[in-house]
């Protein structure tokens, strides 16, 4: 069978060709696996770091915000309250940072071999999932310790995990494509994440937000994700469906726009790196 490949100057604005990404799925899994298996090599604590990081953060948050500031935590012990939010938040922030630099740091691959460029941001979503899984184990340990039993909503947890994955991809795609042209993005992302954390109910409860501003606040997809995690694991109030779907809609738009933008830009990646 003769497969004719045509190489032409890029034109048009819709070149999704997602089937090609599927054909390269072996590369995607191997890149994820490379990140995972190289991650903690030559480190004594190894995957222990996946536990140490959230535990230290929880200790700090519990002391400062739970203890000193006395922030309400919806009737849940504060460490548990913070951990349930930290798990999706640290996944989101690490993935967003990873996705936004994925193309520039994969420059050596990009200029030497052809593969669908979407593989690069997709592959940086994977490695964090291992940490997230380990941290969930830690959280279930906490639940046992505090004697809390999650109800049926725990079955919906994978939905919220998936939502976190999709949200970090949606925003990351824009950032990584922009970062190729304007390296300023790489410098701005840490600040963006810092601000984003305070705009998300990580250390405080979303019920503290005045109802007047709630609609705006809910547009932040992290609100839905974190409240979803707490609902699934800690039996807190169910997130409001209307605002949840509104933020879902926004993420969907960001994602579709991000994929289109990325594919439009990718033809020039190798020229600009």
């Amino acid at each position: 069978m003769r497969v004719i490949t045509v190489i032409e100057p890029p034109r048009g604005w819709l070149r999704l060709n997602l089937s090609e990404v599927w054909r390269y799925r072996d590369l995607l899994t191997l890149l994820i696996w490379r990140d995972l298996s190289a991650r903690y090599r030559q480190s004594v604590v190894g995957y222990g770091w996946a536990f140490i990081k959230p535990i230290v953060s929880v200790l700090i948050f519990a002391t400062v915000f739970g203890g000193l500031a006395g922030l309400p935590s919806d009737g849940i012990p504060y460490p548990l309250f913070a951990l349930a939010a930290l798990i999706p938040w640290s996944y989101f922030s690490a993935s967003l940072a990873g996705v936004s630099t994925s193309v520039t740091s994969g420059g050596h691959l990009l200029t030497k071999v052809y593969f669908p460029r979407l593989i690069l941001p997709l592959s940086s979503l994977g490695a964090g999932l291992a940490d997230l899984g380990l941290q969930l184990v830690l959280l279930f340990g906490f639940l046992l310790w505090f004697g809390i039993c999650p109800g049926w909503p725990v079955l919906l947890l994978p939905v919220f995990i998936l939502y976190a994955v999709v949200a970090s991809l949606a925003f990351g795609l824009w950032l990584t494509a922009l970062n190729v042209r304007y390296r300023d993005v790489g410098h701005a992302v840490p600040f963006l994440l810092q601000a984003w954390m305070w705009l998300s109910p990580v250390v405080y409860s979303s019920t503290l937000v005045p109802p007047r501003w709630r609609w705006l606040y809910d547009l932040n997809p992290l609100v839905g994700i974190i409240d979803g995690f707490r609902w699934c694991l800690l039996n807190t109030a169910q997130p409001r469906a209307a605002s949840f779907f509104l933020s879902l809609l926004m993420v969907a738009f960001t994602l579709v726009g991000g994929v289109i933008f990325f594919r439009r830009q990718e033809a020039t990646f190798a020229d600009m790196i």
Binding site: V6, I7, P9, S37, L109, V113, F115, V180
Partner: protein, 442 residues
């Protein structure tokens, strides 16, 4: 048979500056310049390209790395791509490999392309050899099961079987390269594109790679092969194309292509350098008869075995006698190689400059960079008198000839003496035998 690669009117342009990461500052700068009607810094500041390269800019200040290239390649052909650095070879390979997009034109490929533009792309030092083979194979476009099928062959070809489960960071650089080439050597594709990768590895491995590539081409696959190493181009290909200034200069038999490439190298003229204001190494030179300009005729390297023509301008302030030019050639490390003298030359007329064309008899110089010291002595009746002297002038380069496959280590010295002569055996010399050695020892 329809061609497997059809390239039509291919072009690739770069806007200067776009190759660098534009920052917001650039954006603001160019917006400000536009508002005030000034030229943007990108347009005003064309870097110092050689004159020939300036022709590759169009009116909009865009640089054409590749222009109006049309080419057809048939299945089973092995085509060499040769040209000087910057001629557009790598750009062509990158477009064919779908890494960068062309600006104009069209390519049709009737088959899968595997390209090896670099050895060991994506190797991760922390991972073992085995893990890297899988990773590198999939990066180059194989599926996991394809890698698994060829795994034993790859490891055997690389000769690293005992270390296959050791992290690659513990490998010697030679082992890494061998393993990386081995992965690429077993790619399954109809079109194989190879860029200069044979420059790595030791001589024995290079032979092995050449053998493997020969096998690939004999199996009916199409190979595009870029190299500066003319012997391997000659050994592997029958057809070659020569790229020059981003355009197709020649397409045909490899022998003729190599000739064309060598010719093209010799057409670049240099510019005479005025030396009137240069410092002289000695005091007490009258400067009455002195060098005005010095020039090596071509900028591009000379092929080993050729003479190096030079052009010198001499001015005399008074009626002068015949004079002799003395010249010492130095290696890059300032060690002298040897000297030569001109025959007595007729003096220039008073207050005028005369040009003399001389040769440096450099036929025995081996590849490398050289420069000269030059002096001028008037042959007066009371003996020679030094009139002018200059150091660190007339630099030129010698490159290996197209037929020279062997390298020339610096330790062998800068001179290749003529081939040794075999003399008829002298009747009184008894050939050395074990007996005579034993005799000498006792």
């Amino acid at each position: 048979m329809p061609p497997i690669i059809r390239i039509h009117n291919l072009g690739k342009k770069y806007r200067l500056g776009e190759t660098h990461a534009a920052s917001l500052r650039d954006l603001v700068n160019s917006a400000v310049s536009r508002c005030f009607g000034r030229q943007s810094p990108l347009q005003s500041g064309l870097p110092n390209f050689r004159q020939a390269d300036r022709d590759r800019f169009d009116d909009a200040g865009e640089f054409w790395a590749l222009k109006e290239l049309s080419l057809e390649i048939h299945p089973g052909e092995v085509v060499g791509i040769i040209g000087r650095n910057g001629a557009g070879k790598s750009t062509l390979l990158k477009i064919l490999s779908n890494i960068v997009a062309p600006s104009t034109g069209r390519i049709e490929l009737a088959g899968r392309v595997a390209s090896l533009l670099e050895v060991g792309t994506g190797f991760h030092p922390e991972l073992t050899g085995r893990e890297n083979v899988y990773l590198n194979g999939t990066i180059l476009g194989m599926t996991k099961s394809q890698v698994r099928r060829r795994f034993d062959e790859i490891v055997a070809f690389a000769g690293v079987d005992t270390f296959i489960d050791t992290p690659v960071k513990r490998y010697s650089s030679g082992m890494t390269v061998r393993l990386a080439f081995a992965v690429a050597a077993f790619l399954e594709s109809e079109i194989l594109i190879i860029d200069e990768v044979l420059a790595v590895g030791d001589a024995e491995f290079q032979r092995k790679c050449l053998g493997r590539m020969q096998a690939v081409s004999e199996s009916g696959r199409t190979v595009l092969f870029v190299s500066h190493n003319m012997p391997s181009v000659r050994a592997l290909t029958t057809r070659s194309i020569v790229l020059s200034q981003g355009k197709l200069r020649f397409d045909g038999a490899t022998e003729n292509a190599i000739d064309c490439y060598a010719q093209e190298n010799s057409v670049t003229r240099s510019v005479a350098i005025s030396v009137t204001d240069r410092d002289r190494p000695f005091d007490g030179l009258t400067g009455e008869v002195r060098f005005e300009s010095l020039e090596v005729e071509q900028v591009a390297p000379y092929v080993e075995g050729s003479e190096v023509p030079i052009l010198i301008g001499v001015r005399s302030q008074r009626p002068a006698e015949r004079f002799i030019v003395g010249l010492t050639v130095f290696r890059r490390d300032e060690s002298p190689v040897g000297s030569c003298f001109s025959p007595p030359l007729a003096p220039p007329p008073q207050d005028a400059v005369a040009q003399y064309r001389l040769t440096i008899p450099a036929q025995q110089l081996t590849p490398g960079s050289y420069h000269c010291a030059i002096s001028l002595a008037e042959a007066r009746s009371q003996g020679r008198r030094l009139q002018d002297s200059l150091t660190d002038v007339l630099s030129f380069e010698i490159e290996p000839g197209p037929l020279q496959s062997q390298g020339w280590p610096a330790a062998w010295g800068p001179i290749r003496f003529p081939e040794m002569r075999l003399l008829p055996a002298h009747p009184s010399v008894v050939p050395a035998s074990f007996d005579s050695i034993a005799y000498l020892k006792s």
